[in-house]
């Protein structure tokens, strides 16, 4: 099956896939830094004019959400699978 072969191909070249991914991230920030590439008149607040604002928002926001959710779980929300079984 060709789709399976494609996935396997990408997995065999994982270091390269990771490098490409990191390059895309760098390119995103670069596009945000170079003036004139991204038209910031659509920005809603002053903070958004800082280069890489949404990148930081994504990275920190994700870590914060995971920490909040896991803390909530540890506070008693998460429990064993047979909790409701009588």
């Amino acid at each position: 099956m060709s789709l399976l072969r494609l996935i396997d191909l990408l997995r065999e070249r994982l270091p390269m896939v990771v490098r490409v991914g990191l390059a895309v991230l760098a390119a995103l920030i670069l596009a945000d830094v170079v003036p004139g590439l991204v038209h910031k008149e659509h920005a809603h607040t002053v903070a958004e004019h800082v280069s890489g604002f949404w990148a930081a928002f994504g990275l920190i926001g994700c870590l914060a959400l995971v920490v909040i959710a896991k803390t909530l779980g540890r506070l008693g929300v998460s429990t064993r699978e047979d909790y409701y079984d009588e």
């Binding site: 099956m1 789709l3 399976l4 996935i7 991914g21 895309v24 991230l25 995103l28 920030i29 596009a31 945000d32 590439l37 991204v38 038209h39 910031k40 008149e41 659509h42 920005a43 809603h44 607040t45 958004e48 890489g52 604002f53 949404w54 990148a55 930081a56 928002f57 994504g58 990275l59 926001g61 994700c62 870590l63 959400l65 995971v66 909040i68 959710a69 896991k70 909530l72 779980g73 008693g76 929300v77 998460s78 429990t79 064993r80 699978e81 909790y83 409701y84 009588e86």
Partner: protein
Amino acid sequence: MSSPWIHPALVMLAGGLVLPALPRRLRKVWLLLVPVLAFGLVLTMARGTFGEVTFLKWTLTFGRVDALSLVFAHIMSLMCIIGTLFGLHVEEPGQHVAAWVYVAGSLGAIFAGDLLTLFLFWEVMAFSSVFLIWFRRTPASTAAGFRYLLVHVAGGLALLAGIVLHVKATGSTAFVLFDVHQLTPAGWFILAGFLLNAAVPPLHAWLPDAYPAGTFNGAVFLSAFTTKTAVYALCRGFAGMELLVVLGVIMSLYGVVYAIIENDVRRLFAYHIVSQVGYMVAGVGIGTALAVNGACAHAFAHILYKGLLFMGGGTVLHMTGETRMSALGGLYKKMPWAFLFTLIGGLSISAFPFFSGFVSKSMIVQAGFDEHLLWAGFLLNLAAIGTFYCNGLKVPYFVWFGRNHCQPAAWERAKDPPWNMLAAMGATAFLCVFIGCYTPYLYRMLPYPDAAQAYHPYTSYHVSETLQILLFTALAFFVLVRLRKIEPHAGINLDLDWFYRLGGRAFLWLARRPVQSADRGVGQVYRLGGLVPLMKSAGLVGLFDNRVIDGAVDGLAAAVRGVGRRLRFAQRGALQENLTLVFAVAAILLLAFLVFFRVSAP
């Protein structure tokens, strides 16, 4: 109009009625034909008011056809085709009939022009959809179905109470925008009924409790119809109500936080219904033309990508018998196409550029920023992070890659699903990409065409903003995977259904312990204080009894035995069947009462 107006719900109901009587081979054709016919009716429907029926002193309007009802009817009837195709190989006609009656309920509520008709179809939805859970036929799904029904009956009663109060106060049954700035008690009751069906916390726990308990294809229907019909009703009745912005933002984050720690794939998706409907509720609350357009567009896009995700989850369940991530992993080798389609659903819900969510969700966020609701805009963007984390990264990674936790039997069984399931997923995946790339298809249907035409999602800023948020979320995810911080592990998470699940148990305990022991105590007292004198008097009575009473009693006993024998055939202890029967009888009694009321009213 030259041709008569035909209600698409009527087509679904009639189609469902005929289905069980058809021979097996013909059924497959019928299953494809009827939903396509209903979809065709919606596509070619002229706008206006149709199907007005005078009932008692009220006018019931079955067909209010305008832009708002059409966009919802379009996607509902389209989803019916996809959902039916997905379950085409299911042989039991009852399952298809339940799904179609459910769709009919949704279409009926959407086209309803008055509150009474709305209520009628609202209840049809509740009582038909529960069978999509019961047909799973596991003890857990039977119990979940009863809880689902219990909650929806409560919501339906709130809606009915609101309607009765509203009609009494205003004398009008028309379903139009309520005065959202000075809501009457009647309005609050109706709003509560809508909010329950939209799964707004704290009235949401029924959804992640019941949907994952549904059949593999029933959950696809469930994910689409109830909550989005409620979004339609909110658009119609409560646009511009500020409270909804707050509730919407809360639910968008609530669903995300629970989904992050969820282990069951389908329950995770269910929590993301709560989260995504939060965007729509917030959009309705903002209430501007762009925001209401956004709520409708997002409901449209959501039904497709959420259906696709539930098809992905349903496929995993159908082909492996398992949906817990702690017992899955590495499945790309066995079911690569299911992986690809689920990933497309994940990218669409995450609002990746060129996928459907990107052109719909952004309208709501943009409208929030436009109205200077900065907190709402930022928090909705925060929820978008959790959305991508769960649907675009966590599920695809831990089900199809990651470490293989599959039981040998599940691994042996696993493979890509039958053609009809793949076709349904493929068509939906295509639509998700199509909507994301060719915006006029969706935008032309929205209730405010000017605002839709003026909105352009593909600005350099919006694309850059979205890609930064999502790709750096991906970076955080893979760092966490590398650090082994987010391995799935077995377990469940307690939600607000805890109160009524344990509340029910407390009631049972009360019935078993104090009530039963009181009963036993009374029995004891009776035996000691009552039995001895009774025995004495019994001797005297016996004489009288032997002569006079026996003759009469014998006749009575024979009569009772006869009735009992007949009743035994009807009463087999199947609670679900009995409930259906009870509701049918109640409906008949209600109708009889109404007719009598008309006769006796001056």
